[in-house]
């Protein structure tokens, strides 16, 4: 202990304390504070960057999920629209078919009515002609009858044959 105290130099002690304190304050101001701040800032920056990357990843995932959902919805909608269109088409065809058939039957009916009326007209015309012809024949026959009985008969017969051909 005595040796230790003997070695103790007050001058060195004072110089050491003063110089060390000076060094401490200089380094604190000009070195440690800027260094630690820079390192902290850098670490903070790295942490923030990692966080934001993670966030971006999450957002990306959300976006992808949204996209998937939208796509799914769109697909369903398309499906529905196609189905509707198909149904509409079928219905239209059905309707058209129905309408066409009624129209056709109506036309046929009209045609039939027209045919019937034409036929009626033709028959009545024929009746009139037959009546006229009969009258002419009767006239001729009467005339022939009046001249030659045989000839009159022959004429009636031939006339009738002609009339039939007509």
């Amino acid at each position: 202990m005595e040796k230790l105290l003997g070695e103790f130099s007050l001058g060195l002690f004072i110089f050491q304390t003063a110089l060390f304190l000076l060094l401490l304050f200089l380094l604190k101001k000009y070195a440690w504070k800027p260094i630690l701040n820079a390192v902290n800032d850098r670490e903070e920056g790295i942490k923030n960057a990692l966080d934001s990357a993670e966030k971006a990843k999450m957002e990306m995932q959300n976006l992808q999920a949204d996209n998937q959902k939208l796509l799914q919805e769109a697909r369903l909608e398309r499906e529905a629209m196609l189905k509707e269109a198909r149904d509409l088409k079928n219905k239209m065809i059905e309707d058209a078919k129905g309408e066409a058939s009624t129209q056709a039957s109506k036309i046929i009916e009209q045609a039939q009515a027209a045919i019937a009326s034409e036929k009626q007209a033709a028959i009545s015309d024929l009746k009139a002609q037959v009546a006229n012809l009969s009258l002419e024949i009767a006239e001729k026959v009467v005339k022939e009858e009046l001249s030659n009985k045989d000839k009159q008969l022959k004429l009636v017969e031939s006339m009738l044959g002609e009339a039939k051909l007509n």
Binding site: L4, E7, F8, S9, L10, G11, L12, F13, I14, F15, Q16, T17, L19, F20, L21, L22, L23, L24, L26, L27, K28, Y30, A31, W32, K33, P34, I35, L36, A38, V39, D41, R42, G45
Partner: protein, 375 residues
């Protein structure tokens, strides 16, 4: 290539040792004893602070010693300020005359003497002359200044490189940045806690690099032994002591003066506290004192061992002994490089631990209990 060079170096050293040992003739017992005493004095001298920066010394042909180095200013307070160059002492061989006072260097200390330089002794052969107040710029002070300047420019450069280089260290700072981060993440934060560590960081960083650099300087052939000087370690430990106790929280003081807290009624605590409180109060002083002695003793011991082993080369004076001593000294030097770092680490670590006690708030108290026991 590298290996080849090392082999060459080893061969060179062995040759040198051989030259030393072969060159010296046999000497009788008396000169041997004298040489032994000289070596002892030499080692003692080198462990001490000195008034001049001595690089090396040798004995000239005429038997006189020649010293290579440069003198440093001596500053004394002895009836007024006295400043003179240490070259006036002529390495303790002459009396320095300053004004009308005479001073003599005796065993590394300055004593006031008469014109003849008489040193008076008491019964135990201690000098009784007056020792003037001594504020000299010694070798130790010079090394502290150099280390301080080195540290300032080194870490100022590192700090600047961050702002100039977009937050990334450049050059030699790349080596020191991980160490700074280590001190922050593995010494300061675990011991002091995340909220308060910033207050102590400048001291921890400064003390770590200061001790480490001075330890490393101590291993150079300059022969400086600053961290192995009791005044320097006492100053560092005193700063730790002051910082611990001036930043101590209420909980820190409560831990010292009321360590049992509310776990016991006052009449139960009273007999325990008669023993406990003095121990706790003593602990305040023992902690920094252990820092002081640990650093001093480790560095001092390292230097003594290293110099003794080198001294063995001159003791053995044989080829084998010289080589062996060299090998041993080399191995110890390598260990000393490790010790240099280790002692800086231990000083910083323990300072941080003591600051941790001082800064603790109650919820941390339980966590630190185990560490106290451990110490």
């Amino acid at each position: 290539m590298q290996r080849n060079r090392i082999e060459k170096l080893v061969a060179l050293f062995v040759l040198m040792l051989c030259f030393f040992s072969c060159d010296l003739e046999k000497q009788d017992e008396a000169t041997k004893a004298a040489k032994k005493a000289e070596r002892k004095a030499y080692i003692q001298h080198h462990l001490q602070d000195s008034y001049d920066f001595n690089l090396f010394s040798y004995t000239k042909d005429d038997g006189h010693k020649a010293h290579v180095g440069f003198p440093l200013p001596v500053i004394l307070w002895d009836d007024g300020l006295k400043i003179f160059s240490s070259s006036k002492f002529h390495h303790g061989e002459t009396v320095a005359e300053v004004g009308d006072s005479y001073y003599k260097l005796y065993h590394g200390k300055i004593y006031k003497t008469d014109a003849a330089g008489t040193i008076n002794y008491d019964d135990e052969h201690h000098a009784t002359n007056v020792k003037p107040l001594d504020f000299s710029i010694t070798k130790g002070v010079v090394m502290i200044l150099i280390t301080g300047l080195l540290m300032f420019f080194l870490f100022r450069g590192l700090a600047k490189s961050y702002s100039n280089n977009g937050g990334i260290a450049k050059g030699v700072g790349r080596f020191f940045e991980p160490i700074i981060l280590y001190i922050r993440d593995d010494i300061a934060i675990p011991n002091i806690g995340k909220e308060k560590y910033m207050k102590y960081m400048p001291f921890l960083l400064t003390v770590f690099f200061f001790i480490w650099f001075l330890n490393i300087f101590g291993l150079t052939p300059l022969g400086v032994n600053v961290t192995g000087n009791i005044a320097v370690t006492a100053s560092l430990a005193l700063l730790t002591f002051l910082l611990t106790n001036f930043t101590g929280t209420k909980d820190y003081w409560k831990h010292i003066f009321d360590p049992l807290g509310d776990s016991m009624p006052w009449y139960g605590k009273l007999p325990l506290y008669i023993i406990l409180i003095p121990i706790e109060v003593l602990g305040i002083f023992i902690k920094p004192f252990s820092l002081l002695i640990r650093l001093y003793a480790n560095m001092q011991a390292g230097h003594i061992v290293l110099m003794s082993l080198i001294g063995l080369i001159f003791l053995f004076r044989t080829w084998m002994g010289g080589a062996m001593s060299f090998g041993l000294a080399f191995a110890i030097s390598l260990i000393e490089v490790l010790v240099a770092l280790l002692q800086a680490y231990i000083f910083t670590m323990l300072s941080a631990l003591y600051f941790g006690f001082a800064a603790e708030t109650h919820d941390h108290a339980e966590a630190h209990e185990g560490e106290v026991q451990h110490l």
